[in-house]
């Protein structure tokens, strides 16, 4: 009985270990030739096409909310000339990577998990292995790379659209002055903020694609299994991405001194 409880308690650890091992397999697959350029381009195009519009639509209210919240607060301090800097800081440092992670996990990851899961239960992956082709190299590696590439671009998109949305709300709705918004852009924000946002997006894309591929390739039990795999992959990815976002932010704030004056 005790061994049964122990095996139950340790089961999540086993799953985490298998996920990590899968990640290592993918890492090894990265360097195996031939590189599947065609699959990579197709997947990059596909992931971009399912994420671009939702991302842009999510980014506008994100920028607007920050502008509304911070704008009111800053007015009370009498520091209206810094509204732009606050929006840039919030969007580029945090909102960009977070919105990217939501969309990459929700739209890109679920599509990958559903696709691989359907192939798994139709025995396509088995057939591929039997034909002497490693599905990790043939299918997973191009998806992981495509997801990382698209995530970086999405991060840029969120930054631009978010800042623009903040501008519109600040200037049009809150009677801020365009000059104050734009000229204070670089007052608090600095170039490393942009780099860290991109690095975060890259890591988020990696994690989302690996979790989705792992869940998809281990789907079992017919069509219901595919649904479960998609569901689990989105939930696990969300949890992981928010955790990783926190850790990376904490590390970044330790490494890069905040800009003063």
């Amino acid at each position: 009985m005790s061994s049964l409880t122990a095996s139950r308690v340790l089961a999540p650890v086993g799953t985490a270990g298998k996920l990590f091992a899968f990640g290592l397999d993918v890492g090894r697959g990265l360097f195996r030739r031939p590189f599947q350029l065609r699959e990579f381009l197709q997947q990059a195009w596909f992931i971009a096409s399912v994420t671009i519009i939702p991302t842009a639509l999510v980014a506008i209210p994100f920028g607007a909310v920050i502008a509304l919240q911070v704008g009111g607060l800053i007015k009370q301090f009498g520091a209206q000339s810094f509204t732009g800097s606050a929006a840039v800081l919030a969007v580029v440092r945090e909102a960009g990577p977070i919105a990217t992670s939501l969309l990459i996990a929700g739209a890109g990851g679920s599509a990958i998990a559903a696709d691989l899961g359907a192939r798994k239960i139709r025995e396509e992956l088995d057939a591929m292995m039997v034909l002497g082709i490693d599905p990790i190299q043939r299918l997973v590696v191009p998806r992981v790379l495509a997801c990382m590439l698209v995530a970086v671009f999405l991060n840029g998109l969120v930054s631009v659209v978010g800042v623009a949305g903040g501008y519109v709300f600040n200037v049009v709705l809150q009677d801020g002055t365009p000059g104050a918004y734009i000229s204070s852009f670089t007052a608090l924000a600095q170039l490393p903020d942009l780099w860290q946002g991109m690095v975060k997006a890259l890591v988020f894309g990696l994690i989302a694609a690996i979790v989705a591929s792992y869940k998809g390739m281990n789907a079992a039990g017919g069509p219901k299994g595919v649904g479960d795999a998609v569901n689990e992959s989105v939930v696990i990815t969300f949890m992981l991405l928010f955790l990783v976002n926190f850790v990376m932010s904490a590390i970044y704030l330790q490494l890069v001194p905040p800009k003063t004056g």
Binding site: R122, E123, D126, A127, M129, V130, L131, G132, D134, R138
Partner: protein, 317 residues
Amino acid sequence: MGVEIQIDNLSKSFGKQLIWGNVTLTVPAGEVSVMLGPSGTGKSVLLKTLIGLLKPDEGSVVIEGTDIATCSEKDLYEIRKLFGVLFQDGAMFGSMNLYDNVAFPLREHTKKSESEIRDIVMEKMDLVGLLGAEDKLPGEISGGMRKRAGLARALVLDPEIVLFDEPDSGLDPVRTAFLNQLIVDLNAQIDATFLIVTHDINTARTVPDNIGLLYHKHLAMFGPREMLLSSEEPVVRQFLNAQRVGPIGMSEEKDADELEAEKDQEMPPLPPIPMQLEPSNGIPRRSQRPAGEWCREHGVTPPPGSFDGNMSMATGG
């Protein structure tokens, strides 16, 4: 000329549940063998173990000196090029049309030009009777066509071993008969080792050179077709003749009461052994043995009426 598969002391369990244990047999090179067994006895699991999709808990599967159970991933992918596998539903890649599906292994593994690939693909499509359907997607065709397309793809790399996972499940009797004829003709043509997993009795009685029976977590018997068809062993006899009387019940094993009640019931006499299916061009296959040879050599009297060319294919019972 085919490759032999040596299976030694193979065991596989999922969690605590043993699927089968202690399976030892040699699938002879170039011959057609059938693996039978009641539903749920792990026939498909056995097939997947032979190609290394599942790792056995114990034992070895040796093909050309390489043990599939313990070799490295790299060797495994190499040895799999000897295999052609027909999956239950064909396992065609849903995003590609039939032509690309069949061409896929050639494009991945060979440096052939597109025109060479075209010739090979068309030849295999012709072989399985799918000429004209190259542009269809797997979702647009019937299950029988998907199976034949899967067979074309399995054959495209000229395999030494061809594994069939229930080639006759979900097919009507006429298509099954055609497919069986196709299997026999193919064996005559490419001389590869064939292993068919099925529970279709008619296929098992007429197609193979050898029959194996998985029952109750072990291999009950494996040997030449005539040996099993003339066997008095209750399990073999019950299964090969599709009878209710015998040790196999609805839930795998019958309980003691039922067996007790059946004790005095006489098993019906063995039905005659049918002729083996001949290649359609009439030239015997290289591994084919003359009808009744095994029975004569081992002093077994086949049931009356055996090896009558005009005999119907009915299975007694």
